[in-house]
Amino acid sequence: MATITQKSIEIDVVVCDGGNEFKLKGEINEDLLIEELIYHKSDLIKVNFKEVVMINSCGVSEWIKFVEAVSNIGSKIQYFNCPQIIVQQVNMVTGFVPGNGSIETFYAPYFCDDCENEDKILLKSSDLKGRTAPELKCTKCGELSEIDAMEDIYLNFIPE
């Protein structure tokens, strides 16, 4: 395992089945130096966004440069554990997920109207049928909990 430590983010690069997994921890912003990430390119790049706490517009630009650079040389990119802030960028910003990339797992916000409990539920893209979020029970009160976003927009990246 190699650890890339930058000003705002720390990235653990772990060898995984078929390539390298990048575990990101911190903020994706203008301080992201993509050259160090490109150095660890492989045929398959798995990106784990679980501990990303913030991404701004400059960070989005840098990230797109990175994924374009590695996809142009044939690397396949898979996103895992995408928090809500990443999903929003995925939906909104063209190029955040390259053409040969995919969202494998992501967190969806759920809100219980009864007890006002908020949950972040990890969903697997392949389990979804279209842009419809599954109905889940509130982890606190057990009542029905709904996705706390505009469903068709939040799941915009899922093929119809």
């Binding site: 517009s57 400059c58 630009s61 797109i64 909104m92 190029g95 706390d148 976003a149 068709d152 927009i153």
Partner: protein, 636 residues
């Protein structure tokens, strides 16, 4: 800081460091010198006094020994002469023997034989011989010489006593000091009396220039002395206590101090000779005895003062090496106070003060640099203010009310110049709405935004100029992409959303360059819920300035009466509260739809009210734009 010319510091008198150093040096040196002198002089005086006392004792011991040897020798001579002369009866024989004796003894004065007359019980002079040489020497005092100091009564006493010999020193009429030796002759029933002049003895021992020597008998009567003055009654008055003291003294020798009033104190060393019944003593004036010591002390003090002066001069020079650079620094601070931050102070003392001066110069350079920066910053801020004014001119009036729609917008920049922009334009039955957000914020983002804004205006003016040809949102984005690509150099990108409301068809055609999806409230009579809103999430393309060949599409939606379109940037949604938790999409949407039936201004102000209540004093880090457009298709 007070000026040095005022000679005060905070109301207290200014005292130069130089004088403080000098005074401290002077005080330290004076204390050291006085202590040193006091200690050494005390030691020296003690040692010298002991030496003088010892010397005085040594002197009198030497005198006394000499006298004792001298007198013993003459006493022995008398015995030898007695033994010889006692053998003869003839006067001629006696004279011959005495004359022979004279050849070896030049201080012999005379010899007299006193015979005791048994009948008269008186001593009668039977034989006498006087040294003719001495008689010639003392022509004027022959009578005195001939006079025997010893009384016949004393001879009787002596003769009756068991003593064979008596002797003592007599100074008849204080003119001719002589040794008197009386030896009893049982064979001839008389007494031989020998006398020796002891002037030579006195002259040979009384040679000291420092001491005045005296020889007295036991009673204190002076027999011989070396005093240039007469021994008079005043002398005896002064010395009466001395003689009383030595009579009671346990030792035969010692040193006493006597006070001669006007002549001061004298040291008197003495030696009592019991054999000859004499007291030998020497006196020396204390003033004279300590004269040299006082001279040494005086010279030592003068030398100390001279050393002190030299030290003071060296201190003055040394102090100036400290105070001169400090004065330079002080004067430099004064010139700094008058606004001179460019001059430097030069100190080459090679010590901490030079380091201080170097640090001072460094500080002034930094202050000067900071002042320049502040000046530049002030100028920049002034320019930013100007830029802000210019940028504000790019924003349209915040409210627009027409029959088919009512629009209200709000903009707040996170910095002097923002990277967000919104605008609208009415043209031939169409309302063009724009909203964009450049990456980052500040001047670079504002410049790109200004370009995009100008481009929008130009496009619409161009349309007017060519008689109202419709510009589709995707075409506008494509043109904007070229402009932002040119101005941003692919470093500054821009999300952008263009919507065109057609008042005839009541549709909105829109195209999105990765901007946050605007949301629309679809009116119904029921209370609005989150299901009452939907996002315009289609027709999505790349951000402006990203790629030269970016393509954009259009999407059309229908608009009904009282629908509300909300355009916004991510600033308010992503703003955080004190717990660093973002406001979030859910709360933002709820804030919108909950008041969607109100007019646009109330909607915007309500959202802002909710948002700032949540932020609880934490200002948003990004620009905030909210634009609400309510459609009034049925003339509602």
């Amino acid at each position: 800081m007070s000026s040095t010319t005022e000679k005060t510091i905070n109301g207290k008198r200014f005292i130069s460091l130089k004088y403080k150093f000098l005074v401290s040096q002077l005080v330290i040196f004076s204390i050291s010198l006085i202590s040193f002198l006091y200690y050494t002089i005390d030691l020296y005086l003690g040692d010298k006094t002991a030496y003088i006392y010892e010397n005085s004792v040594s002197h009198i011991e030497s005198q006394s020994n000499f006298i004792e040897k001298f007198l013993s020798s003459e006493l022995n001579n008398s015995k030898l002469l007695f033994n010889t002369i006692n053998l003869y009866n003839q006067k001629s024989d006696k004279i011959e023997i005495v004359e022979k004796f004279l050849t070896t003894n030049d201080i012999f004065l005379d010899l007299v034989f006193f015979k005791l007359n048994p009948e008269t019980v008186q001593f009668e002079k039977k034989f006498s011989y006087m040294n003719p040489k001495i008689l010639r020497r003392y022509k004027g005092n022959r009578k005195i010489l001939r006079r025997h100091g010893l009384l016949f009564r004393e001879l009787h006493d002596y003769y009756k006593s068991g003593q064979d010999i008596i002797f003592r020193i007599i100074n008849t009429d204080r003119v001719v000091p002589h040794l008197y030796v009386a030896i009893k002759s049982k064979k001839k029933k008389g007494v031989y009396v020998f006398r020796y002049l002891i002037e030579n003895m006195a002259s040979s021992i009384f040679q000291s220039s420092s001491f005045t020597d005296f020889i007295t008998d036991r009673s204190g009567k002076v027999l011989i002395h070396s005093s240039p003055e007469d021994v008079n009654q005043e002398f005896y008055d002064v010395y009466s206590k001395f003689f009383d003291d030595i009579k009671n003294a346990k030792n035969n020798s010692g040193v006493l101090t006597i006070d001669k009033a006007t002549k001061g104190e004298f040291l008197v060393s003495y030696k009592i000779n019991n054999v000859f019944g004499i007291i030998t003593f020497s006196e020396i004036s204390k003033t004279k005895a300590f004269e040299f010591t006082k001279l040494i002390i005086f010279k030592t003090i003068i030398f100390g003062i001279l050393i002190g002066l030299i030290i003071l001069i060296i201190s003055l020079i040394f102090t100036q090496t400290i105070t001169n650079p400090l004065n330079k620094l002080m004067r430099r601070t004064e010139t700094m106070g008058l606004g001179d931050f460019e001059s430097t102070v030069t100190v080459r003392s090679g010590d901490e003060i030079q380091l201080l001066a170097d640090s001072f110069n460094f500080m002034t350079r930094k202050i000067n640099q900071i002042l320049v920066e502040i000046q530049d910053k002030g100028q920049m801020e002034s320019e930013l203010q100007t830029a802000k004014i210019v940028q504000n001119s790019l924003f349209p009036p915040d409210s627009l009310e027409r029959d088919p729609y009512h629009l209200f917008g709000f903009y707040d920049s996170a910095s002097e110049c923002g990277g967000d922009w919104w605008g609208y334009k009415e043209s031939r039955g169409k309302l063009y709405l724009f909203i964009g957000d450049a990456t980052g914020h500040g001047v670079p983002a504002a410049l790109v935004t200004a370009s995009a804004s100008s481009c929008c205006q130009t496009i619409l003016e161009y349309i007017e100029y060519f008689d109202g040809q419709y510009a589709r949102p995707s075409d506008i984005l494509k043109l904007l992409n070229s402009i932002v690509l040119l101005t941003g150099g692919q470093k500054i990108l821009m999300t952008f959303f263009v919507a065109v409301y057609d008042t005839e068809t009541n549709t909105i055609e829109y195209s999105n360059a990765s901007h946050n999806f605007p949301i629309i409230y679809k009116y119904s009579a029921e209370n609005p819920t989150k299901k009452s809103i939907q996002a315009l999430g289609k027709a999505l393309g790349r951000r402006l300035g990203d790629k030269p060949d970016s393509e954009y599409t259009n999407e059309v939606i229908e608009i009904a009466d009282k629908d509300v379109l909300l355009l916004y940037t991510d600033g308010p949604v992503e703003a955080v509260n004190k717990e660093n938790i973002i406001w979030g999409e859910r709360k933002f949407n709820k804030s919108f739809f909950s008041r969607a039936k109100k007019d646009p201004e109330m909607i915007i102000k309500g959202i802002l009210e909710d948002g700032y209540a949540y932020f609880d004093g934490v200002p948003p880090e990004d620009d905030v734009i909210l634009v609400a457009t309510k459609f009034k298709i049925d003339g509602s």
